[in-house]
Symmetry: C2
Subunit: 186 residues, 2 copies
Amino acid sequence: MGRARPVPPTAYAILGLLSMTDELSGYDLRRWARALRFFYVSPAQSQIYSELRRLAALGWVAQRDVAQEARPAKRLYRTTEDGQAALRGWLEGSPVEPPALKHALLLRIFFGHLARPERLQALIDDYITAARMVLAELEQVRAELGDDPRWRFPAAVAEWGLRYYAAETEAAAAIRPCVAEAASRE
Amino acid sequence: MGRARPVPPTAYAILGLLSMTDELSGYDLRRWARALRFFYVSPAQSQIYSELRRLAALGWVAQRDVAQEARPAKRLYRTTEDGQAALRGWLEGSPVEPPALKHALLLRIFFGHLARPERLQALIDDYITAARMVLAELEQVRAELGDDPRWRFPAAVAEWGLRYYAAETEAAAAIRPCVAEAASRE
DNA sequence: GCCAGCATGTAAGGAGTTACATGATTAT
DNA sequence: ATAATCATGTAACTCCTTACATGCTGGC
């Protein structure tokens, strides 16, 4: 019973989403997976389907085909006992990867010596605007989750996210003058 | 003169590092690239070499082989005029990708209903410890950069990083009790 | 004797993406 | 008319990673 090669986090993410619901199609999952976008790259549609096939092959999800009138047929998935056990094992036993961040704005600021300062400031301003929009979204998400114990953990993550994006706007605003200083020099 | 397919950000990152220095080998770059690790996944050694070959093929860097006694031969790279122009074009003209985050801890907390609360708390504690270590590193980096105008932009990024990781420790500490609350329920 | 450092490179493969294909229904 | 929604799936490709290969020098 050799443990096969490790399953990627995205597969666990999909399995986890299924574990919080009853039965979902790949199409449904695409919407659910958007909930991850604040803290985890939400997978492409094609990947959702391929991960579902992987999970089915592992016996971690069960599938059921449902015909519909006037709509394409659905394939509904739900977690199996093995799937729940796999998720629990992942949560309890596997090492947590360090967060992977690719911050394209910071990459550009890092090489800011080659840009016009006004351009950098504009990029920072755009970023603050975008972060504020995420904040607004997250506030709504947080409100929708309420204090329903069923969504306690997503709610905790949303609260983290609120702090996260608030800190981003503050950090962006804080370094904006440094870039301005560079502007007044050249 | 059809614009070929876009060059990945990592290539610009390497080009940018070369633009801040005189001449570097792939081996040297591996160390320099570590500076990116706080805000951008720092590339694997093999990728550094392959990106350098790509940049050389584009004419954005020039290479020069240097024989050494008692050491393997070096291949030193420096940016060309075209390379500088490409970097400037990237900074000024190309759209900034939204930050991509893969926060494995938050993914696990999101699915926390399947974990023992003590486990989640331990994960959070580990994360806080790790974030504090990053903070210590960043403080040192920031101190080393000083107020040398040459490193103004890296310094600004380091300051962003200090806020970022401080916010992470705070967010982690803030949601820890929510997880604890779950513990007292079950 | 052994490991770290210097220095480059190949091979294999996994994770993830975009774009395409199909086709009916409903709303604008 | 046209777009969005429902619903799944394939093809091609890129990015990036790990592991391996090579080999000399210097310090402990």
